[in-house]
């Protein structure tokens, strides 16, 4: 293995934190969705790194499944955002405050 596992994990960790910050801090719904995507891909990188470390295929297969599910996530998420935009005319999180949490 040319790149040590620790470095791959570090890269994945940084990417994950970037995604998390994007998902938590941005107010635009599309950007939040994008942040979640980045988090999923960070997990994918960590899986590929681990698969390479153990010389196994499980990690690689896992990534294929993550990609498929991420595609489903985007389609469901964007569909919901479009529906919300049609109803309220905004994709800013702050306009969605009907429900107390």
């Amino acid at each position: 293995m040319i790149v040590p596992y620790g470095h791959v994990l570090l890269l994945a960790g940084i990417l994950f934190v970037l995604g998390l910050v994007c998902a938590v801090a941005r107010r635009n719904l599309v950007m939040v969705l994008l942040g979640v995507e980045i988090m999923l891909n960070a997990a994918g990188i960590a899986f590929v790194g681990a698969a390479l470390r153990w010389q196994q295929l499980e990690g690689q297969v896992f990534v294929l499944f993550i990609m498929t599910i991420a595609a489903a996530e985007v389609s469901v998420g964007l569909a919901l955002i479009v529906r919300a935009y049609r109803r309220t005319g905004s994709i800013d999180q702050n306009t969605y405050d009907l429900l107390k949490w």
Binding site: F16, L29, M39, R53, F65, V76, L80, L98
Partner: protein, 474 residues
């Protein structure tokens, strides 16, 4: 490979296919749709009951069929049937979308059945996501409600973030432990907890499950989603999906064997925080669905008590409680759906005078709510009693003491509901509520089950005990 083991899942998958085809081909007809789905759901319960005795593994040992998973599949099938039987007045959802609504309910049921049999990270992840995405779509299906769309979006964003966090935890675990089999992971993990990556991975992975079960501090989505979703969807989320979450958490906790002291401490803290916060916040709720949401948070805390006992009796009482919880919660939702027949949100004040509008509904609500509060002779009392005994056997005296204080706190807001139904006079005269014969029968059956299973819990407990033994491989 023995496909016979997979029959319940295949059956529900076939139902999904039929519903998908129907939703694309035929014109909507609520009555016909309801009757056909009811038929499929009833047949599904029979299929699950018939396959209760199956045992074996599938898909390179990624999927285990044993008495534990089969008992939970029966409970889930019953939950699905009950929720479908609520849909006689599906006014919360546009008529053209009824078939899609049933389709998504069925995919969610299949996913939860897959979940209770999963013993590998990949199957757990795929099953969890399939069930979540069905729910993300079910919530905003509600007709003409801005709150529903908002609840759907928030549920989706928070839910996918939680599962991304969980997935990263899985990746960390796989990176240290060399396998994706849960049994193997929990066998190796205790020796690895010194490594930061393993600890972080474990904590992140648990986040996802706690999110599903709405344990504090991952409960904040529950009240909004419960309030925003159509009443029937809320009933499904509050009953069937909680049962599946309990099952998968139990499977993972049980695989970890004796229970390492650190994990026990984490579970004790979460349990106390969950029930205390759930009960205290529930007191000031005005909306019935929000009240039930916070009572769910509190019940997640009670369920954790059974899990952290790490003993066969603890697991058996948790399985017993999962069934009891399903029946009691469902009874409350049945009343809620019937009183708010137009599909609107029900305020507790609107329950006023219920005993005159429909004595049977008021009685069922009282029995259901007393069950949730744990008053004898209901099944809720028997369940709580078993949970607390199991915890005391393991020496968690302080925890049980706090739990009992919590039961008393919860009694207050449950009694408020009963008071509204029986003692308060309504501001205006509301018409009597007419119940069809099948619903009347269903109400009587539920009330009988709650009381009878509370007085004679032996048979149910035997089944739960056998399932717990299968879970532990005894």
């Amino acid at each position: 490979m023995n496909w016979g083991l997979f029959i319940p899942e295949l059956y529900y998958l076939a139902v999904c296919g039929i519903l998908l085809l129907l939703s694309m081909v035929v014109k909507p007809n609520p009555r016909r749709d309801l009757v056909s789905v009811l038929f499929f759901a009833a047949l599904g319960v029979a299929v699950c009951l018939a396959s209760v005795r199956l045992e074996g593994t599938l898909f390179a040992a990624a999927y285990r069929v044993d008495l534990f998973s089969q008992v939970f599949k029966v409970i889930l099938a019953v939950g699905f049937l009950l929720v479908v039987s609520l849909c006689t007045e599906l006014n919360g959802i546009d008529e053209g979308h009824h078939l899609e609504f049933y389709l998504l309910l069925t995919t969610c049921t299949v996913a939860m059945m897959l979940l209770v049999s999963s013993v590998e990270l990949l199957t757990i992840y795929v099953a969890l996501e399939l069930s979540s995405y069905s729910l993300y779509l079910l919530v905003p299906l509600r007709r003409g409600h801005d709150a529903a769309v908002e609840a759907g979006i928030k549920y989706l964003l928070v839910g996918t973030s939680a599962s991304a966090v969980m997935l990263f935890g899985f990746a960390c675990l796989y990176g240290v432990i060399h396998t994706t089999q849960v049994a193997e992971i929990v066998r190796v993990l205790p020796g690895m907890l010194g490594q930061p990556v393993a600890t972080i991975g474990l904590l992140l992975a648990f986040c996802g499950f706690f999110f599903k079960l709405a344990v504090f501090p991952f409960h904040f989505w529950a009240p909004g989603v419960y309030q925003g979703a159509a009443n029937q969807v809320t009933a499904f989320i509050a009953t069937a999906s909680k049962v599946a979450a309990i099952a998968i958490l139990m499977r993972i906790v049980a695989l970890s064997g004796g229970g390492d002291a650190y994990l026990v401490k984490v579970l004790v803290t979460l349990s106390i925080a969950s029930m205390t916060l759930g009960n205290l916040v529930a007191i000031r709720q005005k909306d019935m669905k929000r009240l039930l949401a916070y009572s769910t948070v509190a019940h997640a805390g009670y369920v954790l008590i059974g899990l952290l006992s790490f003993s066969p009796s603890g697991y058996a009482s948790t399985i017993f409680y999962a069934f009891a919880y399903l029946v009691m919660k469902f009874t409350c939702f049945l009343v809620l759906v019937k009183v708010a027949a137009d599909g609107s949100d029900l305020q507790i004040a609107q329950l006023a005078g219920l005993h005159r509008r429909s004595p049977l509904l008021a009685m069922a609500l009282m029995v259901g709510v007393f069950g949730l509060a744990g008053i004898p002779p209901t099944v809720g009392f028997a369940g709580k009693f078993l949970l607390f005994t199991a915890a005391i056997e393991k020496g968690h005296l302080a925890l049980v003491f706090i739990a009992m204080i919590n039961v008393v706190i919860s009694l207050y807001y449950y009694l408020l509901v009963v008071k509204a139904a029986y003692l308060l006079e309504p501001d205006e005269d509301r018409p009597r509520i007419r119940l069809s014969a099948p619903i009347t029968l269903l109400l009587w059956v539920l009330v009988t089950v709650i009381v009878a299973a509370g007085i004679f819990p032996a048979y149910l407990l035997e089944v739960a005990d056998a399932a717990a033994r299968a879970l532990l491989g005894l």
